[in-house]
């Protein structure tokens, strides 16, 4: 596709010359670097509750963000109006971060590679709405028929189609079309008028709607949500204190996201405020751990052809056999520290300044048989599902909340236990990994990562892992 056929050129008649002019305006007061981020986002969202489709919303938002970097300083402005006067005005406001005569020569824009990690012809957002309504209706029926103890079901379907274009004063010009869809189901179970218990499941990615007909079906997610709710009906108190913890494969990879991923984002490390700062080359995890952040996985929720600063995403080794190898970079951090780009500059929207963010973060498979890992534990906790987590990157303390876990007694899974928070310290916790399964699994595609008020879609994955020591926040 040539520039003239690209979305913003054809829909808004924005020419290359216009882009070059806006960049010149942005650098008119002496900034070192400038970029423009154009975004056109269509979304739709619908939900079913009590078997009634109660909510259906669709809409469009668009805008452009202008950033100017001068030394370590960033000026930022945006406009939700793509008229030349408004864009020029935003460029002038962003330019104020610098003071002096223009010093960067105008460079001409050239387009980057055109790989496509999500060759979606018709985005879910572009399909007939009836087909999408059918997904939540099927989920509702499937969860209710799973078991008579299921008494409330909510299913939500959300999709978006984002057209982006990035132009930088270094001459990068990139555009991308980013489809995304997600279906999630929440079910409540109750037995004999007792305390209700909740189960939750869902999935999606950068796929065609067909994904929900073949692989991520409403029936599958509904059954999983219902199953989890029913399991909790028999849950006993979670243990309190240090335990051997075994994480099941897939979604429990949120451990890596909290314990390691955030602490390796280059902004924190450049400033020396992360528990991982200055530790490249050091042992920060057990030698069994190799942890990757990979933005290039086909169709995955955390994947991007280009990041939100116009760099191609790539596969980055964060920790190799327990040794810290690298940080996740955005353009500002790599400019300041001289590190190579990693394709991790992301932002929630044109209203936001990009930051180093994760894409899909996972641990490579190891040698152990997952069954053998469980058998190796005389007394401990097996966590099959989590509800999310949080980290204090400075102290390194992180938590993640188990939503489905079981006691391990004499090498066997016995009773389910109530939701509990697990807490550890990033650079320490990963040293206690003593067994890594050969069953690497990626999550289903529902992850949302929040940082400094900006949310972006991400993925995680992990094989079955044994951690010899971790504090479990139960009451028993």
């Amino acid at each position: 596709m040539s520039y003239s056929e690209s979305f913003f050129a054809s829909k808004f008649q924005i020419t290359r010359r216009d882009l070059e002019n806006y960049l010149s305006e942005a650098l008119s007061r002496g900034g070192d670097y400038a970029d423009l981020y154009f975004e056109y986002l269509s979304t739709s969202n619908l939900s079913i509750d009590e078997s009634i489709v109660k909510s259906a919303t669709q809409g469009v938002s668009l805008g452009v963000g202008v950033r100017v970097i001068s030394g370590e300083r960033t000026g930022y402005a945006y406009s939700d109006d793509l008229s030349p006067e408004k864009i020029k005005r935003a460029a002038q406001v962003a330019a104020m971060i610098a003071s002096g005569p223009a010093k960067v020569d105008k460079s001409s824009l050239h387009e980057g590679g055109r790989r496509n990690l999500y060759p979606v012809l018709t985005a879910p957002n572009e399909t007939a709405f009836e087909e999408r309504v059918a997904l939540v209706q099927r989920a509702d029926i499937a969860a209710r028929t799973y078991d008579s103890r299921i008494f409330q079901v909510q299913a939500t379907y959300a999709d978006s189609l984002k057209h982006v274009m990035v132009a930088t004063s270094e001459g990068v010009l990139s555009f991308d079309r980013q489809p995304l869809a997600r279906l999630s189901v929440s079910a409540l179970a109750r037995e004999n008028g007792g305390v209700p218990q909740q189960g939750y499941s869902g999935g999606g990615g950068r796929y065609e709607l067909e994904y929900f007909q073949t692989s991520g079906t409403p029936e599958r997610f509904a059954a999983e949500a219902a199953r989890q709710a029913l399991v909790q009906l028999d849950a006993v108190e979670a243990p309190a204190g240090e335990n051997v913890v075994v994480l099941g494969p897939g979604w429990p990879g949120v451990l890596l996201h909290e314990a390691v991923g955030h602490g390796l984002e280059a902004d924190f490390n450049r400033k020396g405020v992360s528990a991982f700062s200055g530790r490249i080359g050091q042992q920060v995890a057990s030698p069994l751990c190799t942890i990757i952040d990979d933005g290039t996985m086909q169709g995955r929720r955390g994947s991007l052809n280009v990041d939100d600063e116009g760099n191609e995403t790539q596969q980055n080794v964060l920790i190799e056999n327990g040794i810290l190898r690298g940080y996740l970079q955005d353009r500002l951090s790599s400019r300041i520290t001289g590190a190579a780009a990693t394709g991790n500059g992301r932002r929630e929207s044109y209203e936001h300044i990009p930051m180093p963010r994760m894409t899909n973060t996972f641990m490579l498979a190891g040698q152990s048989d997952p069954e053998e890992i469980i058998r190796s534990v005389p007394k401990g906790l097996y966590c099959a599902n989590f509800a999310g987590g949080q980290v204090d990157i400075t102290s390194g303390n992180f938590v993640f909340s188990a939503s489905e876990s079981y006691l391990i007694e004499n090498g066997k899974l016995t009773r389910p236990v109530k939701n509990a928070t697990l807490i550890g310290n990033g650079p320490e916790a990963m040293k206690y990994v003593s067994m890594v399964g050969k069953d690497l699994k990626l999550d289903e595609g529902i992850g949302i990562c929040g940082k400094e008020g900006q949310s972006v879609p991400v993925g995680v994955g992990i094989p079955t892992v044994r951690i010899d020591r971790m504090t479990v926040g139960g009451t028993a």
Binding site: T57, G75, Y76, V273, V399, N419, T421, T471, G473
Partner: protein, 453 residues
């Protein structure tokens, strides 16, 4: 920043409603939100980022009989509004009829007439250099406080001005402006290679009412320093004190449990408990959207119903849920004026100023009364299940020994159930202060499980 023309925006909202009715809607409501934001972040004395912009958006919700559809746009021109109306109408034809769908009755609509003091012209006209200076001073005060403050995540000043417009087909049209500003510092302290950070902030409708940057920086530094050298304690059951920031977080969980949407779905541990004693005698929890100058105040909710004062828990007895018109109809009750939404979709539930009334005990006296306990100043994670009441969160703070804050603790969790926490409160502080729309004094809970070593 020029003052927004509220009349012009109100006209756009009313036109959108009219277009929807012409297109066959039986009811419609339109929200417009307009805002300008400014933020500066400084780090180690230098400006790090400067951001300034404004934006606006409109959202529409239509009903065709009992079927609803909703849409939004950032294009407030004629074409954008027409497209928004078409989108919402298209969706309404595809949803299922909900017997409880609808707008509030005309008799419920309105706006409170007292001046809530939500807008201060001064915020809109503040000089950029002045705002940068405040942020720099806050950070500098933190850095200068103690040599163990070795680094910083910076100081920041944010301000915004906004306008909210709402119109519906039952004859309501209203608009109000608001302003907001905040000042913050986040220092980093280190000791023997371990680092800790914490923050402090001040918020106000008007920059003159902010705490001084020196005070913000000093408190941020004190909070950070006292975390240095934190250890993990043994697993045990002890009395726990929540400082006001943490007590506020606990109130946030209670809010979810009284949200009308979780009540009608039986997805709250407080569902069906109206009139029952669920907390200790001294526990009186209020939601009040009408207090002048506070952050949770607004003249009408996001369905055009006047805000009000609702006693949620009175002396330990659950008195009211927080409702919008939909959840009120579901539950056979009256709306409490707590409808809340972005610009579009069905209204959810929001709170006004949601606060716990002051008790009589000073925080110092609470600490003095404890031989062995945990004073919590930070919690992380989302380990609270408001369906069951199960509570388990990561925590940090100070260990209490013989009536004194003895040493810092981190890497532990606190756990229990919200039911037991509410009935196990042994003291409520006398230090209520509004730093946001949720506020609470220091709170002491007789016993929780601290999990550590």
């Amino acid at each position: 920043m020029s003052a927004v023309d509220l009349d012009a925006l109100t006209g756009i909202a009313q036109a959108a409603v009219r277009l929807a009715l012409e297109a066959g809607a039986t009811d419609a409501e339109c929200t417009i939100s307009e805002g300008s934001e400014f933020s500066v972040a400084v780090r180690l004395g230098e400006v790090e980022t400067l951001k300034e912009a404004s934006s606006r958006a409109a959202g529409l919700r239509v009903l065709i009989g009992q079927q609803m559809g909703a849409s939004y746009t950032s294009d407030l021109g004629d074409d954008g509004i027409r497209q928004m109306v078409r989108s919402a109408m298209e969706l309404a034809k595809l949803t299922t009829g909900d017997p409880f769908a609808g707008l509030p009755d005309a008799s419920e609509l309105g706006s409170i007439s007292t001046d809530l003091g939500l807008y201060s012209e001064s915020v809109a006209t503040l000089d950029t250099a002045f705002k940068i200076d405040l942020a720099k001073r806050a950070e500098a005060a933190a850095l200068a406080f103690d040599p163990r403050i070795t680094n910083s995540e910076g100081g920041g000043f944010d301000s915004s001005t906004g306008a909210r417009i709402f119109a519906n087909s039952r004859g309501f049209a209203g608009a109000y402006r608001s302003t907001y500003c905040s000042l913050m510092a986040t220092p980093v302290a280190s000791l023997d290679g371990a680092m800790e950070r914490d923050y402090w902030y001040s918020t106000a409708r008007d920059s003159e009412r902010l705490e001084s940057p020196e005070q913000v920086g000093r408190i941020a530094a004190e909070r950070t320093l006292r975390r240095l050298g934190a250890v993990k304690v043994d697993t045990q059951k002890v009395p726990v004190i929540f400082d006001p920031r943490m007590a506020r977080s606990f109130l946030g969980e209670i809010f979810q449990a009284v949200d009308g949407r979780s009540i009608y779905r039986s997805a709250s541990f407080l569902a069906g408990k109206l009139g029952e004693k669920i907390a200790v005698d001294g526990f009186t929890l209020i939601d009040d959207g009408t207090i002048p100058g506070l952050f949770g105040s607004q003249p009408f909710d996001d369905e055009g119903v006047p805000t009000r004062r609702t006693v949620v828990i009175e002396r330990g007895v659950l008195k009211s849920y927080l409702l919008n018109s939909y959840t009120a109809r579901k539950l056979g009750m009256k709306t409490t004026g707590n409808a809340s939404r972005g610009v579009t979709g069905n209204a959810g539930i929001g709170h006004g100023n949601f606060y716990l009334e002051n008790g009589s005990v000073s925080p110092e006296a609470m600490i003095q009364g404890i031989a062995n306990g945990f004073y919590v100043t930070e919690m992380i994670g989302s380990g609270v299940n408001t369906v069951t009441g199960d509570y388990s969160r990561g925590a940090a703070g100070m260990w209490i020994r013989n009536g004194e804050l003895a040493f810092p603790v981190s890497g532990v969790t606190i756990a229990g159930t919200m039911q037991e926490m509410l009935t196990g409160i042994t003291a409520i502080g006398n230090d209520l202060e509004f730093r946001g729309s949720v506020a609470a004094p220091t709170l002491m809970i007789g016993e929780m499980t601290v999990a550590g070593r």
